[in-house]
């Protein structure tokens, strides 16, 4: 893949997540999406950079803030929107919703409503690969809040002692809901927590898609060499509150503006223009293609049927 095409692809992904979230937030406000919706706005470069550095045969496991991971991993927008709308055509037939989207056949093992719970599950996927002797890597996404669930160190240790091919992608967006990371952690960098387990770790700029990509590439290489897990702490920031309905007033303005200036989508656009030598027109075409696709997806989802109640009740009735 030549650099321009590659950068264009990265940008397409970044832009897709951005407009997907923005559009779906609208659908939420219109009452078409219900339940929980945790936007990934501002963190796009992590999902895109990580997924671009992995192979099709690899696994990812996601979180409650998971739309970006799904899209970067190649999910179809129409089945994504349909799931958020609770439709039969969604990835989980309307059973899962935003917090449980999965695309198992592709290796996306799914989002999770329990903060931190995906970490051991991801390590388990890697254990399976290791037992089978398959050359697969598992990337586990989680954020700073999840790093306080005991399963993070526990599962990291398991990956370490068994030299499992796991990339622990800590998306440090500095908040767990309204709780700032400084309030629940004495150290500056969460990645220091890996040292006591003999696991390599580092921080990186989570808003820079190329940095994320490069570091993931290297980490995946190490994993495939059988050297065990790597913890990457990607520093980032949410561009809005925790949840669609959270105005995020507790986020200091200057911090927010600092990160807005480092907007991952803008950075990706700049890379495409500067490193990829793409013209404004070419970039605009990428963007309009994405927008078209998304509108089709929204239409598809709106037109889709609700899950069939009778069929559902039969399924349930036949279960013990």
């Amino acid at each position: 893949m030549d650099s321009k095409q590659f950068l264009s692809e990265l940008y397409r992904q970044l832009y897709t997540i951005r407009v997907f979230e923005t559009r779906c937030i609208k659908l939420y406000r219109q009452g078409l999406i219900r339940g929980y919706f945790h936007p990934y706005l501002g963190e796009e470069a992590i999902a895109v950079g990580v997924c671009a550095a992995l192979e099709k045969r690899d696994y990812i496991i996601s979180t409650h803030r998971g739309h970006g991971h799904c899209i970067a991993w190649g999910a179809e927008l129409k089945r994504m929107v349909a799931e958020l709308l609770g439709k039969e055509t969604g990835y989980c037939g309307g059973r899962g919703g935003s917090m449980h989207i999965a695309q198992i056949d592709s290796g996306n093992l799914g989002a999770n409503g329990i903060v931190g719970a995906g970490i051991p599950i991801g390590v388990g996927a890697a254990l399976g690969s290791s037992i089978r002797g398959d050359d697969q890597v598992t990337a586990v996404f989680f954020s700073d809040g999840a790093a306080n669930n005991g399963v993070f160190p526990e599962a990291m240790n398991l990956a370490a002692i068994w030299d499992l091919p796991v990339i622990l992608v800590l998306e440090n967006n500095h908040y767990a809901v309204t709780t700032p990371i400084e309030q629940v952690c004495r150290t500056r960098d969460l990645c220091e927590r890996s040292k006591g387990y003999g696991v390599e770790s580092f921080t990186l700029d989570g808003n820079d898609v190329l940095e994320v990509y490069e570091r993931t590439k290297a980490a995946a290489e190490q994993c495939r060499q059988g050297k065990g897990p790597v913890l990457m702490e990607c520093k980032t920031y949410r561009q809005m509150g925790h949840h669609v309905n959270d105005p995020g007033t507790y986020m200091p303005k200057d911090r927010l503006e600092y990160y807005l200036a480092k907007d991952p989508v803008k950075i990706g656009r700049k890379y495409l223009a500067e490193k990829g030598d793409a013209t404004e027109e070419e970039i605009a075409r990428v963007e309009s293609d994405v927008e078209t696709l998304l509108e089709e997806a929204v239409q598809f989802a709106k037109d889709s049927n609700e899950p069939d109640l009778q069929k559902f009740l039969e399924e349930v009735g036949s279960c013990q």
């Binding site: 935003s98 669930n149 005991g150 809901v177 109640l309 009740l313």
Partner: protein, 347 residues
């Protein structure tokens, strides 16, 4: 001296109506003011005032030492509650969703519930674990469970599930004063419901059910959010001439078997309504108790109207189909009464 009574009627409310979550907030404020040993701990309870705004304003009033925001470490901050309780404090631990309390069950089941017993009564764990369950609002499989049966089965735990603001306040105050541990289960659909709550201080004792509607044809037993639905079902049934007695258990452990049995002996028909899935639920246990204690009074099998045997789906229509609705309750009552007719010889 707080009035120590169990029925809404006794304490004059002077028309004051407040929300369930406000009633809980008042209970916490009053108990924290009364006893410096009481403190609150949980995720997002301080600065944020709690996801359902139950603890709003407590931080301002009582400060960071007694209103403690924690990291997402359910197992450990529950254990911290246990340790503080053993050594003389009265912690009110909040776990956001009962689903997340699965992370803390070692501390609840193996530690808190057994400590007093293992130390032959020397130790005490006067801790309240507040959490919240039930389906509603498309929160899907990991944020909608009704898991009271797990706690109900464990010797050493008390389990409280209030349905009204009045009971919520009085029971939470009593729970905080109890030697504990008490599992205090709220329902996400109840927080915004309103009801009369007196200005004057009162307690509702643990272990006392309340007949929330009296009737002669059938005994309907419910708790938490199902009480509200059962009461409105009862009104509909009244229009059809079926006179339903609705018992709100309020406390599952200790269970007020007397109130239940007294009613059953009167009506000879029983429906138990439970949001949780039927298999292994609390309703089954109450049914088994009734059939044992009042076998000769029963004119028909005890009918259980319960949640469907499935995790809760995201889609709202499917969600609603998984939990007893008013119509399901009405149908269950009619079914319970129908059996009798089959046994009566035709004229």
């Amino acid at each position: 001296m707080p009035v120590n009574d169990t029925s809404t009627a006794t304490v004059a409310t002077n028309g004051r109506e407040i929300m369930y979550r406000e009633a809980l907030n008042e209970a916490l404020r009053e108990e924290m003011s009364r006893d410096p040993a009481v403190f609150c701990i949980g995720v997002g309870i301080g600065d944020r005032g709690g996801s359902y705004r139950v603890t709003v304003g407590l931080l301002e009033q009582f400060g960071r030492k007694r209103v403690i925001d924690t990291p997402i470490s359910e197992a450990s901050f529950t254990g911290v509650g246990v340790g503080a309780a053993i050594t003389g404090m009265r912690p009110v631990v909040e776990i956001l969703f009962i689903d997340f309390s699965m992370l803390a069950l070692d501390q609840i089941i193996n530690q808190a519930a057994k400590y007093r017993f293992m130390t032959a009564g020397e130790g005490r764990v006067p801790m309240v674990l507040r959490t919240q369950g039930g389906a509603g609002g498309a929160l899907a499989a990991q944020h909608s469970q009704s898991l009271e049966a797990i706690y109900y089965h464990i010797p050493g735990l008390k389990v409280v599930m209030p349905s009204t603001p009045y009971d919520a306040k009085g029971l939470l105050k009593a729970a905080i004063r109890d030697d504990g541990p008490v599992i205090f289960l709220e329902h996400k659909l109840l927080y915004m419901t309103k009801g009369p709550v007196p200005q004057q201080e009162y307690l509702v004792e643990l272990g006392e059910a309340e007949v929330k509607r009296s009737g002669n044809d059938v005994t309907l037993i419910a708790w938490s959010n199902m009480v509200l639905r059962s009461l409105s079902a009862a009104e509909k049934l009244a229009e059809e001439g079926i006179d339903v007695e609705v018992i709100d258990l309020r406390t599952l452990v200790p269970l007020d078997a007397n109130t239940v049995l007294e009613s059953v002996r009167k009506t000879e028909h029983v429906v138990i309504v439970q949001e949780a899935v039927r298999r292994g639920g609390v309703a089954s246990d109450i049914a088994s108790m009734i059939q044992q204690e009042a076998f000769d009074y029963l004119d028909a099998p005890i009918k259980i109207c319960a949640g469907k045997n499935t995790p809760i789906p995201f889609n709202l229509r499917l969600e609603a189909a998984c939990v007893p609705q008013e119509q399901d309750i009405i149908q269950a009552v009619k079914n319970a009464l129908r059996h009798q007719q089959r046994r009566v010889p035709p004229p």
